[in-house]
């Protein structure tokens, strides 16, 4: 049944394309990058063995164009396609087109993507697997009146979501009747732009829920395992910001039941390869209950926290399962060890409404050291453009305990200078230091409620001094380099020694 992959086209860009290309190389598989005209020379195209240009900068004309991507795979002689996340990863037409072109699609079969991508069908699957769901529906009448009517029938507050995809795109909370019309229009346009399908789903809003998801993995031989949970409640506008594993305070019995429920849903769906079952968790401790929310039929942005606690490499597993290999381990061999936290580094200005930012990375130095992993789609000198998702990189830390992991993440963020463009790094430092985050007690509405405390901070005294000094750092870098040549003569005193004298 095993058919080794020789050459994989990675139908994505940014950090996930880099991550998949690396995994291919580690397994002795050739990689083919695709890129738009704006991404020629981007890190994922530098790392790959080959690359194909698939069109002009707008994603709809390049990364989202099924025909061009398939043509690129054929032109490069690829035998398989890894979709990454976002873009075409949950588009059944793409999975289908790959199969019809003789390309292995590294993910579940097209009909499974289609079924689990439909909120209604996915809920039916969960129901058939005996897993509880949150009330909601995709109105047959998709006009504004039809969606508004459905929202009223379920009862406000409701959540509007793109029926075709996840990731916070096209998602809106509606609490007041008066907000309905504008929210429906905005959600529909965002959904159409992001997924090529403006169909909306309306759901009862669970107040103060936690978002806890379970990673599942299925091979083509009927083997299915779960790889424990991820806590993703730190969200801003339904966009995850910080993810961790294990979920803090999750009772062991609940964790076990959620794992079993996730495997049951995947089995009921006929699932293959990596997938994620998202749950809402309501309540605390032994009273907590969970509801099936949706399934993501692809690798998640936050898969590294699962890798850190289980010691598995999810992209290696994806490639192996896609080649027809059975899972090499059983459920009881999977361990959840230590604590991992991922911070998403976005090009956005937290002090200006989290507005996405574009520009050149003048200084970009990643933190390193024990328990620190950075998955990046940029390097120093990269130009961040307006065309794509503002995710620059992910910082993943792991440590023996949650407290140590939090401290490690904060230390790493404070050693992560990204200059030339605003990022959310300062916001992340404040978020991880917040008492509720330190206590592990946050729900999906936390960041919105605490927005004020998290986004404003007076310039620290040291920073003001540094700014004053920076203003005095004149001359070009080249001039500066000449100003003080390296002290190759060991007898030459370092200026710091002079500085000590100066201070007396």
């Amino acid at each position: 049944m095993t058919r080794p992959l020789r050459r994989v086209l990675v139908a994505n860009r940014g950090e996930i394309a880099v991550r998949v290309i690396r995994a291919c190389r580690e397994l002795g598989i050739e990689s083919v990058a695709i890129h738009s005209e704006a991404d020629a020379g981007a890190p994922h195209t530098v790392l790959a063995d080959r690359a194909e240009c698939v069109g002009p900068p707008p994603a709809a004309q390049s990364y989202l164009d099924i025909r061009r991507v398939i043509d690129a795979a054929r032109a490069a002689g690829a035998d398989a396609v890894h979709p990454g996340y976002g873009f075409l990863s949950e588009n059944p037409a793409f999975a289908d087109a790959c199969q019809r072109s003789g390309l292995v699609f590294i993910g579940p079969p097209a009909p499974v993507i289609e079924r689990m991508g439909s909120k209604i069908a996915a809920r039916q699957v969960a129901g058939a697997a005996g897993v509880p769901v949150v009330p909601g529906l995709t109105p047959a009448d998709q006009r504004e009146e039809g969606i508004a009517g459905a929202a009223r029938a379920i009862g406000l507050p409701v959540l509007l979501k793109a029926s075709a995809g996840g990731g916070g795109k096209g998602m809106r909370v509606v609490r007041l009747e008066a907000e309905l019309a504008e929210a429906i229009g905005a959600a529909r346009r965002e959904a159409a732009a992001a997924f090529g399908d403006g169909t909306l789903y309306v759901e009862r809003l669970v107040e103060r829920p936690r978002h806890v998801e379970v990673q599942v993995f299925a091979d083509t031989h009927g083997g299915i395992v779960h790889l424990f949970e991820r806590e993703c409640s730190a969200q801003r506008r339904h966009q995850k910001v910080v993810e961790e594993s294990p979920a803090p305070g999750l009772p062991p019995a609940l964790r076990a039941r959620m794992g079993e429920a996730a495997v049951a849903v995947a089995r009921e769906a006929g699932y293959v390869n990596a997938g994620t079952i998202e749950f809402l968790v309501e309540g605390l401790g032994e009273d907590a209950r969970f509801y099936f929310l949706e399934m993501n039929t692809r690798l998640q942005v936050e898969h590294p926290v699962t890798e850190a606690v289980t010691g598995l490499d999810l992209v290696h597993l994806q490639l192996q399962v896609a080649a027809g290999a059975p899972l090499s381990f059983r459920q009881e061999q999977v361990t959840q060890r230590g604590h991992a936290i991922q911070c998403r580094i976005y090009a956005e200005d937290p002090d200006a409404g989290f507005l996405p930012q574009a520009g050149r990375l003048l200084l970009y130095r990643e933190p390193d050291g024990p328990g620190v992993r950075v998955d990046a789609g940029v390097v120093e000198g990269s130009e961040v453009t307006v065309h794509y998702d503002p995710l620059l990189a992910k910082l993943i830390v792991d440590a023996p305990t949650r407290a140590a992991a939090l401290a490690r993440a904060i230390t790493a963020l404070r050693q992560y200078p990204v200059l030339g463009i605003r990022t959310n790094i300062p916001f992340l430092v404040r978020l991880l230091g917040h008492p509720a985050m330190q206590a592990g007690q946050i729900d999906t509405g936390f960041i919105e409620r605490e927005a004020g405390a998290l986004t404003t901070r007076p310039t620290p005294a040291a920073a003001a001094m540094a700014v004053a000094a920076a203003a005095a750092v004149t001359g070009t870098a080249e001039q500066w380099a000449r100003r003080d040549p390296p002290a190759r003569d060991p007898a030459q005193l370092d200026p710091w020694v002079r500085l000590r004298g100066w201070r007396n």
Binding site: A59, K169, A186, R189, E190, A193, A194, A347, A352, L355, P356, A358, L362, L363, R365, G381, V386, H387, Y388, D389, P390, L413, R414, Q415, P417, V418, L419, G420, T423, I425, P426, V429, R430, T459, P460, A461, A462, A463, A464, M465, A466, V467, A468, A469, A470, A471, A472, V473, T476, A477, W480, A481, R483, D484, P495, W496, R498, L499, W502, R503
Partner: protein, 168 residues
């Protein structure tokens, strides 16, 4: 050899004495000063601040007349006074009467046509960047005097897109 510069940060006045890689920053208001050792980092600098024996690193990048600073978990961007004869970039782009894009974006829709009346907070223009909608809202009650773009345009920051006549 030492040069002395004055810098104003957040309304505070700082005196910077620089001698090669060494600097001392003093603020009359803040009392004691801070000593700084500068390291050249290729395309930027690492400043090592020392105050009362406690150290703090700061990274600095150069962007024309701007300096970007990362220190104590916060980023600060400072614009140096331009030498005489060069045009200074306005501190806040867009004035009371005009709307500008905050970043490169594409225009999705003109919501309020020239001549129409808009209330404070109304969306005047809908932009999109990085797959997110960016509504440009009226900062006050106004009449739309002119719109300088159309749907589908790619627009740059700091370029006036809409002129507004404020209503008293």
């Amino acid at each position: 050899m030492a040069t002395v510069t004055e810098a104003r940060v957040n309304g505070g006045l700082y005196t910077v004495t620089a001698d090669g890689r060494l600097m001392r920053v003093a603020s009359p208001a803040a009392g004691a000063g801070v000593d700084i050792l500068t390291n050249y980092l290729g395309h930027g600098w690492l400043l090592l601040l020392v105050r009362d024996g406690v150290r703090q690193p700061a990274w600095v990048a150069e962007d024309g007349a701007r300096r970007w600073v990362y220190c104590d978990g916060e980023v600060t961007v400072v614009e140096l006074a331009a030498p005489a004869g060069t045009r200074r970039r306005p501190a806040a782009a867009g004035g009371l009467g005009r709307l500008t894009a905050p970043m490169p974006a594409s225009v999705i829709r003109i919501v309020a046509a020239p001549g129409s009346r808009v209330a404070h907070g109304d969306t005047v223009l809908l932009l999109e960047a990085m797959k997110m909608e960016l509504p440009l809202r009226a900062p006050h009650d106004a009449i739309v005097r002119a719109v300088h773009c159309q749907a589908g345009d790619l627009v740059q920051p700091d370029v006036p897109l809409v002129d507004l006549d404020p209503l008293a």
